[in-house]
């Protein structure tokens, strides 16, 4: 029961109460936006499809060579493809690889990018300059080209795709985090921690990090949209996700030649699925950004 511990505890209590209030305000701002509700519904639909889709639709791999390239009908709502597989099933199950690869790669990029950004912003100097140059170099290449290069170098697989997108995101996210750290590092609470003799690691991760979570969350959601965009593009080009398991990009690539023969249903539904997912993710991302700014 030392007296000096009393103000420290009360400050902590006040802080946590403030944090609770801020969190509630944020959630209210968020859920009051129509764009967030719409985006969350779309996103939720695809997540449910990826998890439980196989309970509802037919087998996406089952071929029926006596019923190939059939237009949408009662038996096959979205028609069948060139191997007689049910397009509806392939569109629904095709959500799986994207919804696995995109969040994982973005998470890797966010974790490493945050750590790197904290180090760059806190120490500045040489680390900052060197990483800054690497960010510039990565920015000089479009994400798709870097992705192609990475997949060619490391081999074609989901793991490679996750790793490559994560690596490309790392310096980009680090740049955002660094900018946020530069604002925080000269504030009183950081100086106070330094005077208390806390280690640099503790100051970076326990003091500064909780205060810059907002830009990191925004960065994560925005990057998630880019990740989906990139995965679809790369899988269309034949890199990363591989058939016969369905995924939207490869489906479009495989079936686009059938368009000349009039088989529009083999590509249109996949294209619309991609569009809905990307728009949904971006609606959620924009809403979170708006709610955090409010």
């Amino acid at each position: 029961m030392s007296i000096s511990s009393v103000p420290v505890e009360s400050t902590a209590a006040v802080n946590s109460a403030q944090a609770e209030v801020r969190r509630r305000e944020f959630l209210r701002e968020l859920t009051h936006q129509k764009a967030f509700i719409a985006g969350a519904i779309i996103l939720g639909f695809w997540i449910l499809s990826a998890i439980f889709g196989s309970l509802v639709v037919q087998d996406p791999l089952a071929q029926n060579l006596s019923a190939i390239n059939q237009a949408p009908s009662g038996a096959h709502l979205f028609g069948t493809d060139q191997l007689g597989r049910d397009v509806l099933a392939r569109v629904i199950i095709g959500a799986r690889p994207v919804l696995i690869v995109a969040p994982l790669s973005t998470l890797i990029g966010t974790v490493f990018g945050t750590a790197l950004g904290l180090i760059m912003g806190y120490y500045r100097g040489l680390v900052d300059d060197v990483v800054g140059r690497f960010v510039e170099a990565f920015l000089a290449l479009p994400l798709v080209v870097t992705g192609i290069l990475g997949v060619v170098a490391l081999g074609d697989s989901n793991a490679t795709l996750i790793l490559v997108i994560g690596i490309v995101f790392t310096p980009l996210i680090a740049r955002t985090v660094r900018a946020a750290v530069l604002v925080e590092r000269d504030l009183d609470y950081v100086s106070a921690a330094r005077l208390r003799g806390e280690s640099s690691l503790y100051i970076m991760f326990a003091e500064i990090l909780p205060n810059i979570l907002a830009p990191i969350v925004v960065e994560f959601t925005v990057r998630l949209g880019y990740a989906v965009f990139t995965i679809i593009t790369l899988s269309f080009l034949g890199f990363g996700l591989q058939p016969p398991a369905p995924n939207w990009g490869s489906e479009i690539y495989t079936n686009i030649s059938g368009v000349v023969a009039g088989y529009w249903w083999e590509v249109l539904f996949d294209a619309l699925a991609v569009a809905s997912l990307v728009v949904g993710v971006n609606m959620v991302a924009n809403s979170i950004e708006t709610a955090l700014d409010a």
Partner: protein, 317 residues
Amino acid sequence: MLPFILKRIGLGLITLWILSLIVFFAAQVLPGDPARAILGPLAAPSAVTALSKQLGTDKPVIQQYGTWIGHFVTGNLGISYQYQSPVGPLLTKALGHSLELAALAFVMVVPLGIIGGVVAALNVGKPVDRILSIFGLTATVIPEVVSGTVLILVFGLWLNILPISATWPPGSGLGTQLYHLILPAIPLTLILFGYIEQMARAGTVEALNSDYARTATLKGLPRGVMIRRHVLRNSLLPTITVIATQTGYLIGGLVLVEVLFNYQGIGRLIYNAATDKDFPMLEAGVLVIGIVYVVATLLADVLYTLLNPRIRYRGVE
């Protein structure tokens, strides 16, 4: 002014050097022997060794990098494994094709984006503004795979009024070439529209709320004259920078659009080089893309400085 440009050029060169390291070592990670890859699994070991010597792939990696970058700087981009001919001319021809497509996309999107942004800014908060914003934001995030596919279905299949292959018959004039390029240019245009529209809108809104715009209105200048003479001149400045920085995206978009619409540009060349493991072509192609991006952003910075008297007279840090 001059020190600023020199500094920017220096930083650009460092960026390109790091990029060349990334590209070269990414290609080195791949297991396997280039000579074996060219000659195939049935070739005699002695032939593979001889080709390795000829290609220089038997030397230490650092030395290989030195040779490669030395040749690159002097304009020798290597020999393509796939085409068995120098990479330089192939790349130049493809780059020319891509520039034609990119130019068409820019010619379509820049006026549209600026007009859209200015119209939105003059109607802030009204339905026109909201519709333009939602359309711009949506178009920007939808991958070219999607817009390209839908365009092929609508214009190539259902309406049947535009060719779905960008490759024109040999000997076509510029008119026919552009006719074949309209459809491929639209996905690029859609993505860029949102960025340009948002920048032009933000710039115009800021200029409309400025003191000088208010002064112009209060001294009795007609609204049209005020907008043309005072607002637009100031609002379009940031837009120019955005347009230039979008070059990087544009090249990425070209890869997909050129594959989808079967067009022999640099994007398709890089795609083929990657699928065929044609490393000299891939390395040179990617580095050329980096150079195009660095030069474009450099020009944008310089142009911005030249056009903005505030920066021009103050000098840049």
